[in-house]
Symmetry: C2
Subunit: 348 residues, 2 copies
């Protein structure tokens, strides 16, 4: 979901961007006009997150999944043992991909809790020379979210923030590297944002493909190859929208309220149930179950008829799931709760 | 440059696609609605190029440059010697990237001709077990183009067709693999099309990142990770436009005429000059020089004032360059020739 005002602006500019007579899509990524789009987007993202100067901001392709490989190949020597926290499907994918390139130690794991909780340990004492500790800040399928930033001591902390980046303020200085696929809170799919502390780059392995090389992309302004220009432009419009809304403190408070309103209703409904431990429930992805699981099909059908779509849980876990990213207004939560209340009254 | 009718349709559908109340950008790549977009785009591309059933068609990210790495990692064992033809900047980049992973033999080279010609040999006798022969069908910077498909015997032929795919009919059955960044004749940047003979895939190396794995992406319908959905949708609109225009025979004849009109004028002008051997001049990228090179800045300035942009040659070679991809109409060539004639009259 993208903010309506962003889509409206994109629509107005699609055929004639800044009186150029051309679409942004048609402008060379090397042109002064696109360079300005690119630089403004980076500056706005830096301002929103107060990213310190010692971090590079990269606009890449391939999604979080390509970063699962890029991170070890950029940050670790081949014989170093990597540290990962396993909190669900996305952690597992990151770990499996890292194991192509390095030994991996899983230093904390919530598999025993069926990934309905996050590890209790907030501090990790890691072996000297550990290249980084990786965790998944938000598991979109399980619906968990770390309510704190793990403390990895002197070991750089690496976070998959695909679902939470820009959903609230963040202390970037706590991290070695943050990455996010754009399609949740940033823009359309096909763009990946990487924020990396500059002292960590420049030590990549020779087998790293050039376009995945952080040092090269940083030196080339993310244009070592042709970037996804239109997605970059749209991300820039989203950054402007976030600034106009008041920045991440405002957005974060709104997201907190949205999530609380939905979880409060679920917990008090006597009909719906959240499977996730209450202290680590995601603000972005809210899985829930019906008292009678055989009514799930009926629920999604009636919801769709009421204009509420994409409520099926991921096929691997079933149940329902509401995705309530930045672009979802509080009124959208109210509409969902109203529908859920009516459904529970009819069938409960 | 994209066809105006494609941009108009995209503009009409941006906020409300197929009466869904949503943008295509907002629809899950797993939804039935997007699956239909994806499958229709593939079917239309297959129809346009008459792609045999034994070929897989993939819609990926990362551009041709990521394919420079993906191709050896997918198609070759680590100790196999790869065969490449070197015809310019893009060949050289492909060769440099392949050398990260394999020994490479350059079996033909036009460096001695300063890349203003293509190798005379049309047939290549390659050592048994050579995984493939790679060539760059069109060099965008030098402005050369192979006027024939090299004959590699039983060795699979691999071609970077970023600038020529869909510019004319093509006998896909002559190739093992064809790849193309989308931003020339297919759609916006951020999408890469790979057409690969299915018997060549499934033998990749363990160090290949998952999203670059052709067999995995073929099995998953190019959705092993979230694809660039909006770029894929736009490519689909371009394929529909190509079909509506009459298909690649019509487009190819139009492109031949466009190129011939421009080269004929240059050759007969007595003022401009094409540096490329006449038998291998690109239909897509037309470099040319002025009789007085000191007037280049003046030329681009006056051209821009006349609405003719992007005429600077690549910074590595200088001079002028007209890019005349599918979306450029014959009238665009006439406008350029008119301007060039006037400029030559004023300054010649």
């Amino acid at each position: 979901m993208l903010p309506v005002t962003v889509l409206e602006q994109a629509g107005r500019e699609l055929l004639d961007w800044q009186a150029s007579g051309m679409s942004v899509m048609e402008i060379s990524h090397r042109s002064a006009a696109f360079m300005s789009v690119a630089q403004t987007a980076e500056a706005d993202l830096r301002a929103l997150l107060a990213i310190p100067d010692r971090y590079k901001v990269l606009f890449l392709q391939g999604g979080a999944t390509l970063q699962f490989a890029a991170i070890p190949l950029n940050l670790a020597k081949a014989d170093a043992t990597l540290a990962y926290i396993n909190t669900g499907v996305w952690s597992q994918k990151a770990i499996a991909e890292a194991r192509r390139y390095n030994p991996v130690t899983v230093v904390a794991d919530s598999a025993a809790e069926k990934f309905m909780d996050v590890p209790a340990a907030r501090h990790f004492d890691l072996a000297e020379g550990t290249p980084y500790l990786h965790y998944t800040a938000n598991e979109t399928i399980g619906g968990t979210e770390f309510p704190y930033i793990p403390d990895s001591g002197d070991t750089p902390l690496v976070a998959d923030m695909s679902s939470t980046l820009l959903s609230r303020p963040l202390d970037v200085s706590r991290f070695g590297l943050i990455y996010a696929g754009a399609q949740k809170n940033i823009g359309p799919s096909g763009l990946t944002v990487v924020i990396v502390r500059e002292d960590l780059i420049g030590h990549s392995r020779p087998e790293l493909p050039a376009v995945m090389n952080y040092a090269l992309q940083a030196a080339e302004g993310s244009m070592a190859n042709t970037p996804p220009t239109y997605a970059w432009y749209l991300a820039g419009l989203v950054f402007k929208w976030l600034k106009a809304e008041g920045g991440l403190a405002v957005i974060g408070e709104r997201n907190r309220q949205k999530a609380q309103r939905l979880y409060d209703y679920i917990d008090g409904s006597g009909y719906y149930q959240s499977p996730v431990a209450s202290h680590c429930r995601s603000w972005m992805n809210v899985p829930f179950r019906l008292a009678d699981a055989t009514l799930e099909g009926c629920f999604t059908q009636e919801a769709a008829a009421a204009g509420l779509t994409n409520l099926e849980g991921h096929r691997s876990v079933g149940g329902m799931r509401a995705s309530i990213y930045n672009a979802m207004p509080l009124a959208g939560i109210d509409a969902l709760v109203d529908f859920m209340r009516g459904f529970a009254a009819r069938y409960g």
